[in-house]
């Protein structure tokens, strides 16, 4: 057997941390504690597309070419989302969280890692149907400015409409999804009445800090991209940001299990990953 047959893989494992360090030093974006498997897959593909012979050669490029960095940022920030993704989450939210929110005169909500905003508008629709939206202030954040610009517009291609509709119905929607958008030039535009309660802002979960005290945090399908240490750090940030008895909603495959602050949260719905901050 060729003793050097795995040399390229061994080199890649040396080069990737150096590459991420270079990006952090140069551009301030910190991917050093993201899931290694995820980063490796993304970088290997970018390397193949760009015909680089090594990660080190690609590092040379990223240090000297900002536009190349921007395309890497797109590779590394996966913006896949949809309206009423995981409909069961929304129906559980209606049952388990909404009655509690009703007791608040004013409700502050933080959507962290909101991508292009579909999830934010979905929750706004739910809150409107529950007559709570007027009492809400929603902060929706992401570290990718391009997706935030799309989120602010609230305009989406109609190709996914069928899926959105199905999800909305399964989520226990009380009206029709078409009550909340208008169709124009093959796109759907969400209603102004929803967006007026939402502020979209740039926030990096790794390098930025608490910016408000909130009653509810949704951060779905973001933590899966982080390693254990970073998950702990970000959950601590959420803990610090939540008011007492505030709610935390994670993605269906994410959980507080094995994290340091697990015991500081109560399980509200263990399959839909809805948690409540304990009073201590």
């Amino acid at each position: 057997m060729d003793p050097n047959q795995f040399e390229d893989l061994e080199n890649i494992d040396i080069e990737i941390p150096l590459f991420l360090e270079a990006i952090f030093q140069k551009y301030g974006y910190d991917f050093r504690d993201y899931s290694k498997a995820h980063i490796k897959r993304r970088l290997m593909h970018r390397m193949a597309i760009g015909k680089f012979n090594s990660i080190s050669l690609m590092q040379d490029k990223v240090l000297r070419d900002k536009s190349f960095f921007i395309s890497l940022l797109e590779d590394l920030s996966i913006n896949v989302t949809e309206m009423f993704r995981d409909p069961e989450f929304y129906s559980s939210f209606r049952e388990q969280v909404v009655p509690n929110l009703r007791t608040y005169p004013f409700i502050k909500i933080w959507h962290a890692g909101c991508a292009t905003g579909e999830e934010v508008y979905s929750l706004a629709i739910l809150l409107k149907e529950e007559n709570l939206l007027d009492r809400c202030q929603i902060y929706a954040t992401d570290f990718n400015r391009r997706v935030l610009d799309i989120a602010k517009l609230g305009i989406y291609p109609t190709q996914d409409l069928e899926k959105f509709n199905r999800n909305y119905i399964e989520s226990g929607g009380k009206g029709r999804l078409s009550d909340y958008y208008t169709l124009k030039y093959g796109s759907l535009k969400l209603d102004q009445s929803l967006s007026k309660k939402i502020v979209f802002a740039d926030h990096n979960l790794v390098t930025d800090t608490v910016f408000a005290e909130v009653n509810l945090i949704l951060c779905r399908n973001v933590l899966i991209y982080f390693n254990k240490d970073l998950q702990n750090k970000v959950i601590n940030l959420f803990y610090q940001s939540l008011s007492s008895s505030g709610f935390l909603c994670l993605g269906t495959k994410e959980s507080l299990r094995f994290t340091q602050l697990e015991s500081n949260f109560a399980n509200i719905d263990s399959s839909q990953k809805i948690y409540k901050k304990r009073i201590n």
Binding site: M1, Q5, F6, L9, D13, S35, K36, A37, H38, K40, R41, I78, V80, N221, I224, Y225, K228, G251, K253, E254, S255, F258
Partner: protein, 188 residues
């Protein structure tokens, strides 16, 4: 010595897996990862059904879960599954590949990088090209590759697409695949 088996399949996959997994013993020495395309459907009922017929441990893969031998991990619907360097499982919500999430290519590629020549890759019946590039990557890093014989597969496209771009170590009819896996798992 091998450490893991990865299996990919789509159309016809339920039957194909039923012809393999129940043959594995309770103390099968390798970890097994399965990507089965089932659209947006849940796979709980299939897993439950398969468990009844099998001795080996079967479960849905969880995020950051530590990999153990003698366990069959199914990718959850709507998530890709990857192998981390510290022998844990990573899930991802990345875009679909070949209209599929989970994608066989994603699992195979990351398993190839991690397990290298200690990996057995198996591609079964299916209606798209997912898995072809992945099994080629497994071969690149000296893993053993087994492709179901398109002649006997319920859907030929998946195994045939692989054979078009690489030369598998074994091309076998479905009923001989479990025997081959067990034989390989007992090597050394």
């Amino acid at each position: 010595m091998f450490r893991a088996v990865v299996i990919g399949t789509s159309y016809g996959g339920l039957d194909a897996l039923k012809a393999i997994i129940p043959h594995l013993s309770k103390d099968f020495p390798l970890a097994v990862f399965v990507v089965l395309h089932i659209g947006d459907n849940k796979n709980d009922s299939f897993i439950r059904h398969l468990k009844k017929q099998s001795k080996v441990k079967i479960k849905e893969a969880e995020e950051k879960e530590e990999i153990k031998p003698g366990t069959v991990y199914f990718a959850p619907p709507n998530y890709h599954i990857l192998i981390e360097n510290d022998s844990t499982i990573a899930l991802s919500a990345d875009p679909k590949i070949h209209h599929s999430r989970p994608s066989i290519d994603v699992l195979f590629e990351s398993a190839a990088w991690h397990f290298k020549n200690q990996l057995i890759g198996i591609l079964l019946t299916g209606l798209n090209k997912d898995g072809a590039l992945g099994i080629k990557e497994i071969q690149k890093y000296a893993g053993i590759t087994i492709v179901e014989d398109p002649e006997t597969a319920i859907a030929t496209i998946m195994p045939a697409s692989a054979i078009e771009i690489m030369k598998p170590d074994y091309i076998l009819p479905l009923d001989q695949i479990s025997k081959k896996i067990i034989e390989l798992s007992e090597l050394y």
